[in-house]
Subunit: 332 residues, 2 copies
């Protein structure tokens, strides 16, 4: 039995670091969803997390452990998504510079949000690159070397994974009064969230089953579990942009292999219907990636256990979505 990158103690320590900084997001329920599934569903609402997604947990947990020298030089990240905003906000809260390397054609709203989180922190900036002619890794490495900055990747890092696990820790704590959960459904991109959540959940409730949910078009982790090794795929075409990863991480995959018996998949049409369900019945905005777990429960998926009579936790990972596209999905 090889050692995994994180243990439960790392998640408990992350929870202590995040206390009073991250939101303890609500666990919400829906009579409609329960009636439709015959189960009791508990939605952990990370769309209400700071900067709108669970990514804040991992980013802050990683940056909070920087040495004084690392803090002074700051952090660098490549991302056009929630990880960018999570790093920018965490760095400012901890008083360190951040450089976020983003494609020059990123949506204006994302650029503005990232720069907004950096505001007032000296040495922070967004560095743009041309996706078609420049190599972002080379740009990032040059800046990191020149400025002595520490790179924090979006998922394949033990401190990031441990931070994400605090979402499941809180969910299990906040539902414990009614008894243990039978099942936990977690969306899967690079695997940082499900790795942390699986370690937390299996430690607290050994009988729980943790299943991942990927978009049909981006089922690299499903393939990897079947093959027993990390499978690389082309960038998948799916509206679940947070799960458009090409492969699991070297650190996240062994945790998934140990604790997650299988990965389910759902299609984009099911994600749109689930977005509508969240808006219409629960009055909340959830991004496509954040709908993966709920879509499996509400719309069904091959390999989903019989939910009737079960207590099911679902991590709703985030709510950051371009309003124009979102409006179009709702209007149909």
């Amino acid at each position: 039995m090889t050692d995994l990158a994180i243990r439960f103690d790392d998640i408990a320590a992350a929870a202590a670091r995040l206390h009073g900084v991250a939101h303890r997001t609500p666990v919400r329920t829906s009579r409609t969803a329960d009636a439709a599934t015959g189960a009791q569903l508990f939605f952990k609402c990370e769309n209400f997390q700071r900067m709108g997604a669970f990514k804040f947990r991992g980013a802050y947990n990683a940056l909070a452990q920087f040495s004084p020298a690392q803090r002074a030089a700051g952090v660098i990240a490549f991302s056009s998504g929630n990880h960018a905003q999570a790093i920018a906000l965490s760095a400012r809260l901890l008083g360190m510079p951040s450089v976020i390397v983003m494609p020059h054609d990123s949506p204006a709203a994302k650029l503005a949000a990232t720069r907004g989180y950096q505001q007032g922190q000296a040495g922070s900036e967004v560095v743009l690159f041309d996706r078609y002619t420049e190599d972002r890794e080379a740009i990032g490495q040059r800046i990191a070397a020149e400025r002595g900055m520490t790179l924090i990747p979006p998922y394949d890092h033990p401190h990031v994974m441990a931070g994400q696990g605090t979402a499941a820790l809180e969910l299990l704590q906040d539902t414990a009064d009614g008894g243990p959960l039978d099942l936990l459904l977690v969306c899967v991109g690079g695997g940082g969230l499900i790795a942390g959540c699986a370690v937390a959940a299996k430690h607290l409730q050994t009988g729980i089953t943790v299943l991942g949910v990927e978009p049909e078009a981006g089922n690299d982790t499903q393939q990897s579990l079947a093959r027993g090794e990390i499978v690389h795929i082309a960038t998948p075409q799916t509206i679940a942009d947070g799960a458009q990863t090409q492969h699991s991480g070297q650190l996240t995959f062994p945790v998934i292999q140990r604790h997650v018996p299988r990965i389910l998949t759902v299609g984009d049409a099911q994600l749109v219907r689930t977005m509508r369900f969240f808006a219409e019945r629960m009055k909340m905005v959830v991004e496509p990636t954040g709908c993966l777990g709920a879509a499996a429960a509400l719309e069904g998926a091959e390999g989903l256990p019989d939910l009737r009579g079960k207590r099911v936790g679902i991590v709703v990972s985030g709510g950051n979505v371009d309003l124009q596209r979102y409006g179009g999905w709702l209007a149909g």
Copy 2:
């Protein structure tokens, strides 16, 4: 000093009736909104209330006080909006029949939702009428007489008003740790919500200012306060369908006169921008009427006090909105 229709004790009694039946909805905050206004804003999220709006509070409080004979015969209401759903759900929870008189061209989603809340309750039905050729009052009175049913109006009823006041009661209780509120902003249709909320707020915090907010096109209560008597207007053209009332009530207006120094107004464009703010920054769906109070604070309104350094409560009244129209508003 004439007696008003409700006193604080009525609201406290309503709170006891609603305990464990209505949701104690969350009070949410937004760093973005606070930074934009220089105030501390506290949003009372009645969009997360049962059936999606504060109307459940008043309806349930009224029906819970029916005599055994009234319960046996049941309740009748005219409404195509949130009041219909509130009465239908409350009646089923209390085990009594409900008849809801709705226009035959009501949106299918509203008919389905109302019938859904009636499901399983014998004697309950939706009665449709033709808005152009039939008189709904006559239809309702005939059914009420034939079946011995009690009519519950949407706002001009002391038990309805007292129920709505529990929203402000909870908001003031849940923000009391940080000190009293300086200002409370409440949307105004027929005045049931603001009447209940004003009585609760002025009793608990005598220094608080309670202001109403109406759509520009439907400022009947603003006109009534200026004139000193209830002004009737034509059905206003505004996207705030919950505030498309033509006049305040005989019971609600005297409370507003006593406790509400003035009414502010905002336009539909401001409501749309506020809907977008709620979706983008707070990840929640709010119907146009539910945006009235927040729109005044975020977008400004003539007669709005200087908010800087103030603690401001805002009642977000509901989240029931046709997804197609809502999607269009978000997409712009």
